[in-house]
């Protein structure tokens, strides 16, 4: 008996806006002019916020920070495609996603400075807080979507993770669950080339991360992650699929981590500057500027204004965060449980008393 081919698969790659700002008009998503400008402005604020954060960390004003420079299109354009009721489920690099969702800049700084107050969020904002353990949060997105479906609410969940997280069992479990349960989940894998010091070539033997979707029976697509239009279009389509009960999508957004993993490492130790150089040409903000300029939505005046306003906003937020101080010692005890058990109350009273003795004499 000859062997037969049981299944054949293809993975699509989507680019709508090339590096020179040329657009494929057939694929160009319909985005209102105001929204295009909003995406641009959010990307600029994100970039300025990011660069300022690195400086602040160096000055001892933030604890540790994971920069997002170079990945703004992958983060902002995808989050922008969400509807208000959808969930944004970040890992720890997604400051631009919080910014897109309207979270105050100072809150992000305050969290990175070292206070849970910064990750409080708003009830019903449908933003999950930062999730630090790599690959542990995609499952939450599946659960959020399952709950929405059962409660007859049209809510999709967009979860972010990096290329490294695709090696984590929980990420793969999440994709499998989303397939089995047909949840409205969008897995956005930011393939930024590096997991701290480990390149993607050491992360997997697969030719793409998008193809991992195939094994789980969900849709997979690879997009140019520095192309705002491709990221937006793919995410929008994925939300629609989820919303119509057609299940989950894995989007691999090819981008590049221009900076360090976090402020605690030095990329010079593990990658050559020559590798970084070509990605500067692919900068997502510059590329989008070319597009906006061709559409007559951007001129030098507008551009200057956007960058100047971003500087102002970021400076004001940085100042607010610098003024922020740790709360009272009792704050660390208060949110462990809804109701404080007496065994914790006793510790809290003791902690308060000894802290005062020790510090106020």
């Amino acid at each position: 008996m000859p062997k037969t081919v049981k299944h054949k698969f293809e993975i699509e790659h989507l680019q709508i806006l090339d590096e020179d700002g040329n657009v494929d008009e057939k694929l160009e998503p319909k985005i209102a002019d105001e929204d295009l400008k909003k995406i641009y402005e959010t990307m600029v604020v994100s970039r300025v916020f990011d660069q300022k954060a690195v400086k602040m960390q160096r000055q001892g004003k933030l604890a540790t920070f994971a920069p997002s420079t170079g990945e703004e299109a992958a983060m902002v354009a995808s989050t922008f495609a969400l509807r208000k009721q959808d969930w944004m489920v970040p890992s720890y690099r997604e400051s631009p996603c919080f910014i897109t969702r309207g979270v105050p800049l100072e809150a992000i700084y305050i969290y990175m400075k070292g206070s849970e107050e910064g990750s409080r969020g708003e009830p019903d904002a449908h933003n999950m807080p930062v999730s630090v353990p790599v690959g542990s949060q995609p499952l939450h997105a599946v659960g959020l979507g399952y709950a929405a479906k059962l409660r007859k609410k049209d809510e999709a969940a967009l979860v972010f993770f990096g290329d490294g997280a695709t090696s984590e069992g929980e990420t793969l479990e999440a994709m499998n669950f989303s397939g089995a349960w047909k949840t409205p989940t969008i897995f956005l894998c930011r393939n930024n080339g590096w997991a701290i010091s480990v390149p993607t070539t050491k992360q997997t033997a697969a030719e793409s991360f998008a193809q991992k979707a195939i094994a789980f029976g969900i849709k997979g697509i690879q997009v140019d992650g520095n192309d705002v239009l491709a990221v937006y279009a793919a995410t929008k389509e994925a939300i629609e699929r989820g919303s119509k009960g057609k299940g989950a999508t894995l989007i691999e957004a090819i981008t590049y981590r221009m900076g360090m993993h976090t402020t605690a490492d030095d990329p010079k130790k593990y990658r050559k500057e020559e590798e970084v150089e070509p990605w500067k040409e692919k900068d997502p903000i510059e590329r989008f500027e070319k597009y906006l300029r061709k559409k007559k939505l951007l001129d030098d005046n507008y551009k200057e204004k956007v960058w100047a306003e971003a500087e102002e906003k970021v400076a004001a937020a940085a100042k607010k965060s610098e003024e922020f101080k740790a709360g009272h010692i009792s704050e660390i005890f208060k949110y462990t449980f809804a109701e404080m058990p007496y065994i914790i109350k006793e510790q809290m009273d003791y902690a308060q008393k000894t802290w005062e003795e020790e510090n106020n004499g």
């Binding site: 409080r120 542990s136 709950a147 669950f177």
Partner: protein, 323 residues
């Protein structure tokens, strides 16, 4: 009132809470059509449908991780681990997320989920099926851990766990699943989480235990004849309600603590430390522990070497009394 064993009491609690609250869902491996490997969820799928009684893919981290998302978005998931020894892949979701979501968001997001954990030895099971890991669970900040010991508190603690605004690990003494029956109320009732139960008053010595070992404790007391033992069922490992234990030891001056879990860094050590802090001057003899040994839980042929027995408990009680 109806006479029920622990399996029936848990099943009854789930059914009542699922009727009472549409947001309660049950998920896990084989919990639907098969009714769970111990039949604890038997019949629920027929009553509530496969969207609320979910035969999930076979992945513990997946079950608990998706439960975290469900709980944040308005459901009350009751996840089943087939055996408590299989929860380890899911511990990241328990420790890093379920336990911390409230604190991380200053109470804006909460995670009211329950994980049911059939635990303990004595059923001649395979490797990994017999451990008692309450010390590990009790050490996690932001998680409540309860242990049922009889049909009455099995039902009441589970209903309390489902209604609790915080995540609860609910340990079921699988050896006792069908070993005893009690008349329990038909309606829903709660046994409050965070309340230690003084089961039997006594004057000579305090015996503290929980879960399947409560049965061993009773046997030991019976074998001792006229020793007046005050018997305490802890019920909630954490947040531990230690005051009734302290009050009891202040009265009796003597104490034995019995648990099936291995001794090292176990809950008995914690309770002794609390008695040291709060009842030191009342103690008339060193406190003794009767526990599992510091070895991997043995396979079936040797499990009785490991498990605490009424003989070992009675011997410890006599030693403390005759100190």
């Amino acid at each position: 009132m109806a006479e029920m064993n622990i399996v029936q009491a848990i099943n009854n609690a789930l059914e009542l809470e699922m009727k009472n609250d549409e947001s309660v869902v049950v998920l896990g491996e084989d919990v639907g059509v098969d009714g769970g490997v111990f039949r604890v969820t038997d019949g629920l799928i027929d009553k509530f449908g496969e969207e609320r009684v979910i035969d999930s893919p076979l992945a513990e981290a997946g079950i608990v991780g998706t439960s975290v998302g469900m709980a944040i978005n308005g459901l009350k998931p009751v996840a089943e681990m087939q055996f408590s020894g299989f929860i380890y892949p899911a511990m990241q979701e328990v420790i890093s997320h379920a336990a911390r979501i409230r604190n991380r968001t200053r109470g804006v997001l909460t995670c009211p989920l329950v994980v049911r954990l059939p635990y303990g030895g004595g059923i001649r099971a395979l490797e990994h099926h017999s451990e008692s890991m309450e010390a590990m669970f009790g050490h996690i900040q932001g998680i409540k851990t309860v242990v049922a010991s009889n049909p009455y508190n099995a039902k009441g603690l589970l209903i309390a766990a489902i209604r609790d605004p915080d995540p609860v690990l609910y340990m079921e003494p699988k050896r006792m699943y069908r070993a005893m029956k009690q008349d329990i109320p038909d309606e829903a009732y709660t046994v409050p989480i965070g309340e230690t139960n003084v089961v039997k008053q006594g004057d000579d010595i305090t015996l503290v235990s929980w879960g399947a070992q409560m049965e061993v404790a009773q046997e030991a007391i019976e074998s001792l004849g006229n020793v007046s033992v005050e018997l305490i069922d802890v019920q909630t490992i954490y947040p531990l309600d230690y005051k009734p234990i302290v009050e009891s030891v202040k009265k009796t001056g003597k104490c034995v603590i019995l648990h099936e879990a291995a001794r090292n860094f176990g809950p008995a050590g914690e309770i002794i430390a609390l008695l040291n802090e709060h009842a030191f001057t009342s103690l008339e003899a060193p406190i003794k522990r009767v526990t599992g040994y510091n070895v991997p839980f043995p396979l079936a042929l040797s499990e009785n070497y490991y498990l605490p027995s009424a003989y070992r408990v009675a011997k410890a009680i006599k030693e403390v009394i005759n100190y």
